[in-house]
């Protein structure tokens, strides 16, 4: 498929789904950091766990913004030349989002509260978009657009 169609789709999905998720997930991660900073309600390993989880989430959100901006600006060629650090950050974000899914499912089934499923909005939608980015980077599906002129 033509790279330009992927660009359009990614711009629209990023606006409708990506940015709200970044806002919600970023708020959650910053709240986590603030709870760690306060330190009153945590015991034992919870400090380290929450610190790592929140930092991984923030790094993942920033990496996603970076890589999707790169794709919209430079296309697949830009993704192929992107630094490894951005992809490592995205992988950290994937781990954090999987943690959110695990926590949401755990609380839903343990406490029988259907409303905790709303936590699935705090990051996991970006898993799909991160998968799209990685797919564009490593597979040969997207052809570069024909040369102008």
């Amino acid at each position: 498929m033509d790279e330009r169609l992927h660009k359009r789709g990614m711009a629209i999905a990023g606006l409708l789904v990506g940015l709200p998720t970044v806002a919600a997930g970023g708020t959650g991660a910053v709240l986590g950091l603030m709870v760690v900073w306060d330190g009153k309600y945590l015991t034992g390993d919870e400090h380290t766990l929450l610190l790592l989880w929140s930092s991984a989430g923030i790094i993942g959100l920033l990496s996603w913004l970076w890589l999707s901006g790169l794709f919209l600006w430079r296309g697949v060629a830009g993704l192929r030349q992107s630094p490894v650090a951005a992809w490592a950050g995205l992988a950290l974000g994937v781990l954090a989002a999987l943690g959110v899914i695990a926590a949401a499912l755990y609380f839903t089934f343990k406490h029988g509260e259907i409303s905790t499923l709303a936590f699935l909005g705090f990051g996991p939608p970006l898993l799909v978009m991160a998968g799209h980015l990685a797919w564009l980077r490593w597979s040969r599906v997207a052809s570069p657009p024909p040369a102008p002129g």
């Binding site: 330009r4 660009k7 359009r8 629209i12 606006l15 919209l72």
Partner: protein, 139 residues
Amino acid sequence: MDERRLKYLYAVLAVAFGLPSLAVGGVAATMLLLTGLGQFGHGTLAAVTVMPLWGLAGIAGCLAWLWLSAGYLLQGRAGLQVHRLWWWMLLAGGLAAVPPLGLALWWSITVHAEGIALLLLGPSMLVPAAVLVWIKRRA
């Protein structure tokens, strides 16, 4: 006008007039569609036909506007060379936005100036949509 400057102007118009209507009008159109569908079986004939169709037209307009705007902003005028169906969807959205436009004008003139806020239900998106049509026509 310079091609690049026209694109910047369009981006500003899309953010100022398009995005508010996309958020408010998109939600309103979805609710209209769902309410209309929920009345099947016990609503009046007008309710089960007009409401879902109106909602569908609004949603189609939002999708077409997103697709065409992303195309124009990313690829310039070449991005507007799309299937004719997208333009018909944009027209459907434009028609769906006319009743709130009339309501906003009538309300703000006869009742209270705050009625002008109804423009956010979709009519304000007519501004960037008209610019898109104008750019396409000029070619």
